[in-house]
C-alpha cells in the first residue's frame, strides 16, 4: 500500500480533519449530492478528489455539478459555478433537481438533533420567544425530506443530542403529522412522496446510524474516544449494542488533500 494511504495516528490530525474524512466516506461514487455550507462542502470535495470522482454536487443557489477549484464561502458563490453543467437558480435546485428525485445524498449541518434524527437549526427555547435564534431552515428541511439518504455533520455535545429538540426544522424518522401535530412515522406522513431519510450523523467523536425503526444507534467511535465518552455527550438513552468498532482515521493522502487542495486558504480548517 502506498504510504500516503496509511491511516494517520492520533495526534497527527485534528478532530475536524477526521470529521471531514469520515463524512467524505459516506459519499458513494456516482452519487448526486446536495450539500450545505461549511463542512459538507469540504467532505464532498474531498470525496470527489479520492474515492468518488463520479459523484456530482448541487448547491442550493443553483449550480449543478460544478467543479470548484477554490473553496466557496457561500453556496451561492461564484466559485460554485466553475465548470458547472448548468447554472440555474433555486427553482432548478429545489424543484428541478430535488423534488424531481435526482438527489441521492443530502449533506447537512445542525445545532440540535433527537434520537429519530429530527434536526433543529432555528431556535433554542420557545419559537415564540426564543433564547437564541440560529439561521433557520434554508434548504435543510427540503434536502433532508427528499434526498434518498441524508448525512448530518455536527458537534458532539450533550446539549445538542437531546431527547426532544426545541424546534423540528428538518424531518427525521418520526415526525409531526399536521394539522394535529401527532407524532407519526415518516413513511406515513410522506406517503408516495417518501424517498428516504437520515442515514448517518457524524460528529467530532463518533459516527451514528439509524436502525429499521428509525432510532439512532452508535456505530463507530473515533480514535482517542470511548463509548463512555460518547454516552456522556448524548442526552437521550443511546443504543450502544450495535457498535462496530473504531472510526477510521484520515489517511495522510486525505490530510494532504484537505490542507493543500480543498482548503489551502484556511477558510474552514485551522
Amino acid at each position: 500500500m502506498d504510504a500516503s494511504n496509511e491511516y494517520a495516528k492520533v495526534g497527527e490530525f485534528k478532530p475536524i480533519d477526521l470529521l471531514a474524512a469520515a463524512a467524505a466516506r459516506e459519499v458513494n461514487d456516482g452519487d448526486v449530492v446536495f450539500a450545505g455550507t461549511g463542512l459538507p462542502m469540504l467532505a464532498i470535495t474531498l470525496a470527489q478528489y479520492t474515492h468518488a470522482p463520479n459523484s456530482r454536487c448541487i448547491y442550493e443557489a443553483g449550480s449543478i455539478d460544478g467543479r470548484p477549484i477554490d473553496l466557496p464561502t457561500s453556496v451561492g458563490d461564484a466559485r460554485c459555478c466553475y465548470q458547472c453543467a448548468k447554472a440555474g437558480g433555486l427553482y432548478e435546485a429545489f424543484y428541478g433537481q430535488l423534488h424531481s428525485g435526482y438527489v441521492d445524498l443530502g449533506f447537512l449541518g445542525g445545532a440540535e438533533i433527537d434520537k429519530y434524527g429530527n434536526l433543529n437549526t432555528t431556535v433554542i427555547g420557545d419559537y415564540n420567544s426564543p433564547k437564541v435564534r440560529f439561521t433557520g431552515s434554508g434548504g435543510n428541511a427540503d434536502i433532508n425530506s427528499y434526498a434518498a439518504r441524508t448525512v448530518f455533520i455536527m458537534n458532539q455535545e450533550k446539549r445538542r443530542f437531546r431527547e426532544n429538540v426545541d424546534y423540528v426544522t428538518s424531518p427525521g424518522w418520526r415526525i409531526k403529522k399536521w394539522p394535529s401535530g401527532d407524532w407519526a412515522p415518516r413513511r406515513e406522513v410522506y406517503g408516495k412522496f417518501f424517498r428516504g431519510g437520515p442515514t448517518a450523523v457524524i460528529t467530532d467523536m463518533a459516527v451514528f446510524r439509524f436502525d429499521q425503526t428509525g432510532l439512532m444507534y452508535l456505530d463507530t467511535v473515533h480514535p482517542g474516544f470511548s463509548v463512555e465518552d460518547v454516552k456522556n455527550n448524548v442526552d437521550f438513552d443511546l443504543n450502544i449494542s450495535l457498535v462496530s468498532g473504531e472510526t477510521k482515521a484520515p489517511t495522510y493522502h486525505q490530510l494532504d488533500l484537505l490542507y493543500n487542495k480543498v482548503d489551502p486558504e484556511g477558510i474552514f480548517l485551522p
Binding site: 455550507t37 461549511g38 464561502t73 457561500s74 458563490d77 426564543p130 427540503d142 425530506s145 427528499y146 426544522t169
Partner: protein
C-alpha cells in the same frame, strides 16, 4: 423599442413607502442591492415587510436599523462569513419583530407562484416539521392573517389531497406578490434587458412577482450587446420600472465578474453588531457617516477595492485574503 426610466439612488429609495412589502435579488452574500438598502436606512424607512427566500447582509442592515416590522423567509446569515444573522436574532429574541419561518423549498414555491400569476404552488418538501406548526405561525399570532393586508395570505399553508393521481397529502403554499422588488444586476441594457453573470438565484421570480421593480446596476450597456446572446439574459425591459446606475452597489456582497464578497467586511459586521449599541455605532460609521455611494467607495479605498476585483476568467478575486492562510 423599449426605453428605461433612469433615476438617482436617493430618488429610488424615495419610492419606497413606510410599510411596503419588499423582496430582493441575490443569495445570502451575493448580488444584494446593498446601496439601496443603505439609502433606505438613511431615509429612515419604517415598518417594512420583507419577504425573503433567504436573508443576508442587506436585510441584517435593514433589521438592525429598525426599518423592519415583519420578516418572513427561510434563513438568515452570511454563511461561512458569519453564520447567524445576529440582528434578526437579537430583534426576534427581544420580541421587536414579527417573524415567520419557511423552508427554502416553501419560500421558492411562494415566489414562483407570484411570478407566474397563480395563487398557490404545490410542494411535498419539508413536511412534518415545526415550520408547519400552527402555534409557530408568527404572522397569525400577530393578527396579520385577517385578510386586511394584501401582502399576507389568510393562511400560512394548506394541506390537500392530490385529486388527480392519488399521490396523497401535500402542501399548497400561497403566492407572494411583493409591492416592490429591489434588484441588483451587473448589467442592464439601454432598453432594460437585464443580465446576471452566474447562478440566477430567484432574481427572475422576484422581478416577475413584484408590482414595481427597481434594478440597481454596475453598468448600462447598449441593449444590442445583450441581444447578441439572448440565452444569457434574465429579464426583459418591460418587466423593469426603474434603473439606477451605481457602481459597487452590491458591496460588501459579491457580484460575479465584477467583485468578490468582502470577507473581512462581512465578518467584522457580524462580530461588531451583536448589540443594538454596537449596530448603531457601525451604522454611524458606514451608513450615516457617508451621504452617497461615492463617499462610501472613497471610505472603502482603492486598495481594498482592487483586492476584491474579480478575475475576468474566473468571476471571483484570486488576490483577496479569505481565510487564515
Amino acid at each position: 423599442m423599449g426605453k428605461i426610466n433612469t433615476i438617482a439612488l436617493k430618488e429610488a429609495a424615495g419610492l419606497i413607502q413606510d410599510g411596503d412589502c419588499i423582496a430582493f435579488s441575490g443569495f445570502t452574500i451575493w448580488r444584494r442591492p446593498v446601496a439601496l438598502c443603505y439609502e433606505l436606512v438613511r431615509q429612515g424607512k419604517k415598518n417594512l415587510h420583507l419577504f425573503e427566500v433567504q436573508g443576508g447582509f442587506h436585510s441584517e442592515v435593514l433589521i438592525g436599523a429598525g426599518c423592519v416590522k415583519m420578516w418572513e423567509g427561510s434563513w438568515m446569515g452570511q454563511e461561512l462569513l458569519g453564520k447567524t444573522g445576529v440582528n434578526l436574532s437579537r430583534k426576534q429574541c427581544e420580541g421587536q419583530i414579527i417573524v415567520d419561518d419557511y423552508s427554502h423549498g416553501h419560500a421558492v414555491a411562494r415566489i414562483q407562484a407570484g411570478a407566474i400569476g397563480v395563487p398557490f404552488f404545490p410542494t411535498a418538501l419539508a413536511m412534518g416539521t415545526d415550520i408547519l406548526n400552527p402555534k409557530y405561525d408568527g404572522f397569525a399570532r400577530a393578527g396579520q392573517r385577517d385578510g386586511s393586508d394584501p401582502y399576507v395570505a389568510r393562511e400560512k399553508y394548506k394541506i390537500v389531497r392530490d385529486p388527480f393521481y392519488d399521490m396523497g397529502e401535500l402542501l399548497l403554499m400561497p403566492a407572494i406578490n411583493p409591492k416592490v422588488a429591489l434588484v441588483y444586476a451587473p448589467l442592464v441594457g439601454s432598453e432594460g434587458t437585464v443580465r446576471v453573470l452566474a447562478q440566477t438565484y430567484n432574481d427572475a421570480d422576484v422581478i416577475k412577482a413584484a408590482e414595481t421593480v427597481i434594478v440597481i446596476c454596475e453598468e448600462i450597456v447598449p441593449d444590442e450587446y445583450l441581444r447578441r446572446d439572448p440565452t444569457q439574459n434574465l429579464a426583459t425591459g418591460y418587466e423593469i420600472d426603474y434603473v439606477v446606475k451605481c457602481p459597487w452597489a452590491a458591496h460588501p456582497t459579491g457580484s460575479q465578474y465584477y467583485y468578490d464578497t468582502d470577507a473581512d467586511f462581512l465578518r467584522n459586521f457580524n462580530a461588531a453588531t451583536r448589540t443594538q449599541e454596537q449596530f448603531d455605532q457601525w451604522a454611524d460609521e458606514w451608513i450615516f457617516g457617508v451621504d452617497s455611494q461615492e463617499e462610501y467607495l472613497q471610505k472603502l479605498g482603492a486598495k481594498r477595492m482592487e483586492l476584491l476585483r474579480a478575475s475576468q476568467l474566473l468571476g471571483y478575486s484570486t488576490s483577496v485574503k479569505r481565510g487564515t492562510r
